[in-house]
Chain length 416, copies 2
Amino acid sequence: MKELKGACIIGQSGGPTSAINASTYGAIKTALESENITAVYGALNGIKGVLEDNLIDMSKEDREELEYMKHTPSSALGSCRYKLKNPDVDDTDYKRILEIFRKYNVRYFFYNGGNDSMDTCNKISKFMLKNSYECYVMGIPKTIDNDLNCTDHCPGYGSAAKYIATSLMEIYHDARVYDTGMITVVEIMGRNAGWLTAAAALACHKGAGPDLIYCPENVFDLDAAMVKINEIYKKNGKCIIAVSEGIKDKDGRYISEYGNDLSNAKDGFGHAQLGGLAAYLANYIKQQTGAKVRGIELSLLQRCAAHCASQTDIEESFSAGKAAVDCAVKGITDKMVGFERCYENGKYVCKTKLFELTDVANVEKKIPDEWFNESKDGLNEKFIEYALPLIQGETRLVKVDGLPRFVRLKKVKVQK
Amino acid sequence: MKELKGACIIGQSGGPTSAINASTYGAIKTALESENITAVYGALNGIKGVLEDNLIDMSKEDREELEYMKHTPSSALGSCRYKLKNPDVDDTDYKRILEIFRKYNVRYFFYNGGNDSMDTCNKISKFMLKNSYECYVMGIPKTIDNDLNCTDHCPGYGSAAKYIATSLMEIYHDARVYDTGMITVVEIMGRNAGWLTAAAALACHKGAGPDLIYCPENVFDLDAAMVKINEIYKKNGKCIIAVSEGIKDKDGRYISEYGNDLSNAKDGFGHAQLGGLAAYLANYIKQQTGAKVRGIELSLLQRCAAHCASQTDIEESFSAGKAAVDCAVKGITDKMVGFERCYENGKYVCKTKLFELTDVANVEKKIPDEWFNESKDGLNEKFIEYALPLIQGETRLVKVDGLPRFVRLKKVKVQK
């Protein structure tokens, strides 16, 4: 394919992670160094920044300052949750995007995000192809959920998994400090896939993890779980349970909705929805056992705890962003950069690999059934073998005065 | 004073911290190396271990393994929340303690804990003095709450403060990733003193902290707070609020109880108490503003996140334990080892200093009024100057396979 000179736009989309900025930085840095790319623009708040002609000039940023992006959590360019319409039904947005691309001679488009973002990327790519506008479009994945299809794992997952496993080990020590009984419920993110909750099994692998792990891949039976919890509690005086926010019963109803239902039935004001799943389960288990029960929700911290990021994840994330630009300038388009795992002399090695955007968009990858234990309340060694390499390496996050030094962008607007 | 040869008992008490084991290890290591101390016993679950003759022999532990205690959160010997009775009313426990002390020729007693533990320590010390049983008793402080009297600060506070400030900085980045509105409420521990919540001001100092900080030192007026929150939210589209779990209204009622009251009035089942203060406030603010609001409770993590400990805190904690033994073998008794701050050539230096147990026990130290801003919803530079040195230094916690390597004690029981 021929070489194409022109500007590039880089956007970030979807929920933040500790590593998405490493990917975006990988793309920005490589683009700034590329001879074919004449200008490097950041789209503020993802595709909305393109639609609203709200771009910043990345070349105006201090190069050394940009380096801090690698360890800054959340999305430095801002994010959005904007879903593009089906272009066959309404192509207004696509026409507008094409208009902006033409205006700035954008020939490269990099979109850094999760499942929905790969869908956006795919639709834009196909629209440009259909309209014969020469533009190389590449998806750069990120998601703590680790649920993107095709790729071995997703940038951002390793850091979240490391934080979750570390926190569970610390909670394990804390939750057994007294010789009195104690049950602890830890709620972990993951609506449909249990990858994040499964990371708690890494703490078990170190002998300091939860007794029970419930993921949304399996039907959750509250009564059956109560039998197990009671059994463990009676034996040890302690019980730690890790649950995905997305666990559902056999009728497909979220357990987290049980609380609302109860409340609605009682007073119609839904007060019980104050707390989430952890609070609901903690309360329920307390009523059933009479034990002291504490509910803990890892909340936003699991996706933004850059101070506990996996350096492996950070480096891989960076490499994904870099590969996207390297491939695009070679004339490759309409792909997502994913990861392929190999073992060289028994050592984990991660290589970037290209996947069709169409294959990735809108498919959710779940934990293979055979990675769960028989009773579906824990993970086996297959999961450990998969996840352990992803959390290796301590973050190189720079600290100043004992606190993280995160990036400070000037965000110089591109003149319209 | 004359030298005294005999055994020592070391116990841990009260809520866990990331640094209490560093103090206990400081005492154990020093005791094991002391010529005057003939045996080093650990009391399992604090004073209960003494009362129940449940002791372990620290000399049976591997010395290199013991070193891991320095960075292991929670209380490695187990803790308790056992309050000794007034000996004038019921001296049963004291007589039992004396019996155990005599049985093992215990001449040194070190108790590592917070406010209540210093009270325990004080009572035991006074009882031994009154009964002319020669025993050197020393209190070693610990509390994330930082509310112990006399000492400049408490072992354990720096690590919790570092975790809180770091997490708040990360939440700051996460909570402003979208261009849509968002209000975030972060609930931080501290029933009567706001030291932990105030640590959020360190994130502000780095330009990435909460907009409002509410501590229990000041009356919390929900209506007045709502005016502020609305103002900030309207201006910025974002608002982050850090609140102590212990904030109270002008009538002395905990705000965290508002939820219960509402619910009890409605259905008598107290469902609304499912969530804590963060959940209640998030729900209330949502109703008042219509904004997207998220409540986050830092929960146990703030007291056990050893992976984010302050190395300054760890070293100081160790030195407090060491000083307790060093002083006791010199014949000093009935004191607590605290800290004195000095500045040498403008540089923070922390020295151990002895305080009367009587002066420490049962007094709660609060944040000085002049360290708050005028509107009492933030801290000023006086607090920053106080707290910043305490969070310095990255933890030397050893990691194996990307996860913390915490201590594994054999806990060899002392033969009764």
